[in-house]
């Protein structure tokens, strides 16, 4: 379970949220600039809140007055809005970047399964600039999951895709979540997407949860 209680002063408003995520998909829904990505980045440890607590099961990510747990020790998968694929590495290298060497043999079956579900095995030797937007999105999702994270963060994962590809990816996402039950925090400003993917929807506005 992920438990988040954080406050942070932002340029135009105060971010102040309090929520938990079980092994489910929780959607952070709201207009642009409402503080959704800030929440995600705080959970990932890319920025630090001013005060509060972030906890995943028994691991404390952040606690007021204590040194925050570095991002690399948080065992999470983060799918960035623009995918952030490494342009100088092949799809294969991108996906295996977070897979530890000694575990490679064990997890390769896992990786193969991942590639199969997402249908991207044929892309492995290609570079990110050689594949389409939908393929990039799948590769980024595979990369976020390949390290077997205990928590998945998705920032507007499907916003750059056309309607048909988007639908496909939504289905794949739900399928993957059925296979690996972990807490998922998803940011979107698309209402339909929020309703389709989320077990629960938290509507965020001006840094506060206005509707659960």
């Amino acid at each position: 379970m992920l438990a988040v209680t954080i406050q942070k002063k932002l340029p135009y408003f105060q971010l102040d949220v309090d929520f938990t995520v079980q092994k489910e998909i929780v959607v952070l829904f709201g207009p642009s600039g409402a503080g959704k990505t800030t929440i995600l980045n705080s959970v990932a440890g890319l920025i630090q809140p001013d005060s509060g607590t972030i906890r995943l099961n028994d691991t404390i990510f952040f606690e007021t007055g204590q040194k925050p747990l570095p991002t690399r020790k948080r065992k999470l998968g983060y799918l960035f809005q623009d995918y952030a694929l490494f342009p100088h590495m092949t799809v294969e290298k991108n996906i295996l970047y977070g897979v530890k060497k000694e575990r490679e043999a064990v997890s390769s079956a896992f990786v193969v399964q991942l590639l199969t579900v997402l249908g991207i095995r044929h892309l492995l030797p290609k570079y990110p600039h050689q594949i389409s937007g939908g393929e990039k999105q799948r590769v980024a999702l595979a990369r976020a999951l390949a390290g077997k994270p205990e928590l998945l963060l998705l920032d507007e994962p499907l916003s750059a895709l056309d309607a048909k590809t988007r639908q496909q990816c939504q289905d794949e996402l739900l399928e993957l979540h059925r296979l690996w039950q972990i807490p998922v925090l998803l940011v979107t400003h698309d209402e339909k997407e929020a309703e389709k993917l989320g077990n629960r929807i938290l509507t965020i506005n001006q840094g506060k949860i206005v509707d659960k």
Binding site: A44, K75, A84, F86, P87
Partner: protein, 217 residues
């Protein structure tokens, strides 16, 4: 050549290191430090050479320390020539590396961190390879600058044939002594080296531009 090679190596490590380190931080006095780094670029080489002479000379404080602790004398040796080359070519390397790191997408480094990469791994697998074209440009320029260094080198290392005679200084004294043939040969060598460095840099730059902007869809 040896002098320029060693100097470039030192400048490479120091320039990339400081550029990366400083690029991520902001603190009061940062612009002062950066200006100080770039100073040798705008100062007359003789001023740089004079400064080095004062610092590294027998009575300069660095010179005295080196003499006392390591029994090393810098002035009028090839080490002096290396130091002069390092100081004048460092700004080029620093600027190129700083610019290269600045254009880097921070998201990529963050993505690497979310996948459990240490800062060390992030640097060697993400930041450095992506900044490499820019760093390489700085490296070639630094090497060319180190190779051509004249003023500061003459001030600190002097001209001792067989010991501190770097190419540009040898050319100067050959011409001075009326040995025009000798001077011509060396001058041609320097022009050829400089020209091929620039040609290669241009070619490499264009190749890299293609690599990152190509779309094979």
């Amino acid at each position: 050549m040896k002098v320029a090679g060693i100097a470039t190596l030192i400048v490479f490590v120091a320039g990339v290191g400081t550029a990366f380190w400083l690029g991520r931080r902001s603190f009061p006095g940062k612009s002062v430090i950066e200006s100080l780094f770039l100073l040798p670029l705008v100062l007359p080489p003789t001023v740089v050479g004079f400064g080095l002479l004062v610092l590294f000379g027998k009575n300069g404080w660095i010179g005295r320390l080196l003499a006392e602790w390591f029994d090393v004398q810098v002035v009028f040796t090839w080490i002096g020539a290396v130091i002069a080359s390092v100081v004048v070519s460092f700004p080029l390397m620093y600027q190129a590396a700083a610019a290269a790191f600045q254009t880097l997408d921070e998201k990529l480094e963050q993505a690497a961190r979310t996948m459990g990469a240490s800062e060390w791994r992030v640097f060697w697998t993400i930041s450095f390879p992506l900044a490499w074209p820019g760093i390489l440009a700085g490296l070639v320029l630094s090497f060319a600058r180190a190779l051509g260094e004249f003023g500061a080198t003459l001030m600190i290392a002097g001209y001792i044939p067989g010991k501190t005679d770097t190419l540009p200084i040898a050319i100067y004294f050959a011409a001075e002594a009326g040995q025009m043939e000798k001077a011509t040969i060396w001058a041609v060598i320097i022009v050829a080296l400089g020209f091929s460095a620039m040609m290669w840099l241009n070619w490499w730059g264009r190749k890299n531009m293609r690599r990152f902007s190509r779309r094979d869809e």
